[in-house]
Amino acid sequence: MGASFEEKSVWVQLTCTVLALGAYFAVAGVMLWSGITALPAYVPLFIVSIVVMVILLIAGHLIAVLSGKAEGRDERDRLIEWKAESYSSWLLGVGVLTAVTAMIFGIENVWIAHLLLLTLFLSEVMAFTLRIVYYRRGV
């Protein structure tokens, strides 16, 4: 069974997110390890990662459009998205609660910001992965 445009789009989003933000976390991890705790030092790296991700997303979706007919979303696509989001959003909630707890204990902002970003990243990756599983195995 050939993949629908929606499924291809999910593959593109998963790949671009993992590549761009994965690279960000790899470099930021090294920076944190070497003791750089000034948050502004991470801003250029973050901006570059987002720009790269947007470029990859545009290129990936162009390829997806050219490789087959782009149908609109239907009820199955909406159900799959809703179900995947409902099973993955707890990760971001855990990140927010941990960040609030870290603030209370006076942890440096750079750690809190990266904790929030990491849980957002993991939550999105989990949602995309679940959507692919539901497309392949059924929902």
Binding site: M1, A3, S4, E7, E71, D74, E75, R76, R137, G138
Partner: protein
């Protein structure tokens, strides 16, 4: 005692064949979903909403229970 598991079977493949081998794409366009969704319904990987189920039955000119059947099986 848990209720028996409900499995929803369908006759879409047979009905398509009996309607001059209607393609999945043709059926998808007539009921307003993607071809992959028709494929998933046929293969029992997705159970459609009542609205889509009635649309499918309408395309084939059959009552709903001739298109979809509820099969009870023990857990």
């Amino acid at each position: 005692m848990p209720p028996p598991k409900v499995v929803i079977a369908n006759q879409i493949r047979v009905l398509r064949f009996n309607h001059r081998e209607m393609t999945q794409q043709d059926l998808a366009e007539r009921i307003g979903v993607s071809r992959q969704t028709v494929n998933a319904i046929e293969g029992g990987k997705y159970f459609p909403s009542l609205e889509v189920a009635f649309r499918i039955a309408q395309v084939f000119g059959k009552p709903l229970d001739e298109v979809f059947q509820c099969v009870m099986s023990p857990q």
